[in-house]
């Protein structure tokens, strides 16, 4: 029938993600700083990041969420000039060691050649890649310390 109403525009069911990943990263709506979410096993106390479905030590399946430190030490860093298919270069990634004895792999904001091993860096939020629909995916990244 010609007078049939058009349905309201719905997000496509197969739309790709634009935020990675609510279980890993909290960006508070009140504007307070973002933080990574660690998970402490309620069975054996092991703290892990990222969240695991099962604790590899005791097979526990229940965890307490623990906000992780926002600053860490850059253990190693590299500038990537030939990257993954579809990723714009150069980009920077490295391992960041947090005081909680966890190592985070993440991209870093800024210019190539601007980071050194053992430098202190800070959590931030930014675009890590472009999704299948051509939209940016937001997630955790690290950056130079922002002066207080």
């Amino acid at each position: 029938m010609s007078d049939e109403k058009k349905p309201a525009k719905q997000p496509k069911e197969d739309a790709d993600i634009t935020f990675y990943h609510p279980e890993l990263l909290e960006v508070p709506e009140d504007g307070s700083p973002p933080f990574l979410k660690g998970y402490r096993c309620m069975g054996c106390g092991q703290l892990d990041f990222p969240k695991l479905s099962t604790c590899p030590t005791c097979w526990g399946e229940q965890f307490d969420m623990v906000p992780l430190s926002r600053r860490g030490k850059l253990y190693s860093v590299t500038d990537i000039y030939i990257g993954q298919a579809g990723m714009e270069t150069p980009y920077i990634f490295g391992y960041i060691d947090l005081p909680e004895d966890l190592r985070i792999f993440a991209q870093l904001e800024g210019e190539p050649q601007s980071y050194q091993c053992d430098e202190e860096v800070e959590l931030t939020v930014g675009t890590i890649r472009i999704n299948r629909d051509g939209l940016p995916i937001t997630s955790y990244k690290f950056s130079k310390l922002v002066p207080a």
């Binding site: 030939i82 993954q84 792999f105 890649r129």
Partner: protein
């Protein structure tokens, strides 16, 4: 794995490594036929099991390779995948079959074609389900992180790393199966295109296509086939990489260290007795770190070991005598088998123009595999071979 009875290598085969228009199955058959003929095997039914390493060319690769050789039907063909360690793992499985007495003669093949399948100008990445891949990880970059940290801790320079490429290309100069070979200067290596700082293009293995094959069997089989120089498998170890998300020392390599220790114990051969090694020199930094991880020298002494010429002709142990992955390129499922093939040729004094002198008695191989977050590598496969 303790070998329950002696296992020997009868024959080996390998294709030239480079960019091939021939697909993985054609390459795999070339290598397999060479190994079978060299083993004096004249009919397909003599082989009782086969293991085929491949990582990226799809499903039932082993059956695709072997059906035209009349080897489908009478025996199990088992496809083995663990990224760059797949080939070494296939050899391990064949050795295990013979060692346990399950079969008397088994075939291991590793074959891979990347260039027909992969987008040019992009880098290898682990699976997209991996959290690090999602954040942009590529294998070049993960090794660059190791290099950056090693340089930070030891004061090594990019020129030091470049010496590995210069050495391995020189070893490969007269090896017909090597791809990139011959004289290259430290300056040319350092000034080549930057891939992942500090790794330049000439410090990275090429994305190549190729295949290797190995026939293993019992002592009785060696006699029956009339093998003049059976090469004894003194040990075969496969391990999986320890998983945790805590800081670890990436100037070491937990899995290579534990795999080496296990292989030395099983074979009764220590690191100082190994004459030649083909190891996972996918990037310059890796070879440097593995000198230390394998106990060829002490922790922190790798650079001195290299500078002193201990890893080339006349040194304590000739590392990468075929030219390594830095000369061959690295078809990821093929390399582990091709390493074994190359070592067997050295032990048999068959490397005209690049033979290590005196003819080596003991050879070791090593392939790691898989960029899996929380591990240094998902897998590691190592072998110890000897002339006696």
């Amino acid at each position: 794995m303790k070998l329950l009875r002696d296992v020997f290598i009868a024959g080996v085969g390998e294709t030239p490594f480079r960019r091939h228009k021939a697909d993985f199955d054609v390459l795999g058959r070339m290598a397999a036929l060479e190994a079978l003929r060299q083993s004096n095997i004249d009919r397909p039914q003599m082989i009782q099991s086969a293991y085929v390493g491949n990582a990226t060319n799809g499903t039932v690769v082993g059956q695709t390779i072997l059906k035209q050789l009349g080897m489908c039907g009478h025996m199990p063909i088992i496809n083995v995948e663990s990224a760059c360690s797949a080939g070494g793992m296939a050899v391990h499985c064949a050795v295990k079959d013979v060692s346990t007495g399950l079969v008397d003669l088994a075939l291991a093949v590793g074959a891979e074609n990347h260039s027909l399948y992969m987008q040019r100008g992009t880098a290898f990445a682990p699976a997209m389900s991996d959290i690090e891949t999602m954040h942009g990880a590529v294998m070049t970059g993960k090794y660059a992180l190791r290099a950056k940290r090693y340089m930070h801790e030891t004061g090594a320079t990019v020129e030091d790393l470049a010496m590995i490429t210069v050495k391995n290309r020189r070893h490969a100069k007269h090896n017909p199966n090597a791809w990139f070979k011959g004289d290259i200067s430290i300056e040319e290596v350092v000034n080549s295109r930057l891939v992942a700082d500090p790794l330049t293009l000439q410090q990275c293995c090429g994305i190549a296509d190729g295949a290797g094959a190995v026939v293993v069997g019992s002592r009785e089989m060696m006699d029956k086939l009339g093998i003049a120089q059976p090469i004894r498998v003194r040990g075969s170890v496969v391990q999986s990489g320890p998983y945790h998300n805590q800081p670890r020392d990436i100037t070491g390599d937990d899995i290579t260290e534990s795999c080496s220790a296990a292989l030395y114990e099983l074979s009764g051969i220590g690191p100082k007795e190994v004459d030649i090694i083909e190891l996972h020199d996918a990037f310059t930094i890796a070879e440097l770190l593995y000198y230390e991880c394998m106990g060829l020298c002490g922790k922190g002494e790798g650079l001195q070991f290299l500078r002193d010429g201990q890893s080339t002709y006349g040194g304590q142990c000739v590392v990468s005598p075929r030219g390594g992955m830095l000369s061959y390129g690295h078809p990821i499922g093929a390399s582990g088998v091709a390493q074994v093939a190359a070592c067997v040729k050295q032990l048999r004094n068959q490397c005209d123009g690049y033979q290590v002198e005196p003819v080596p008695r003991v050879a070791m191989t090593h392939v790691t595999g898989g960029g899996l977050s929380g591990t240094e590598h998902a897998a590691c496969s190592m072998h110890m071979l000897s002339r006696d």
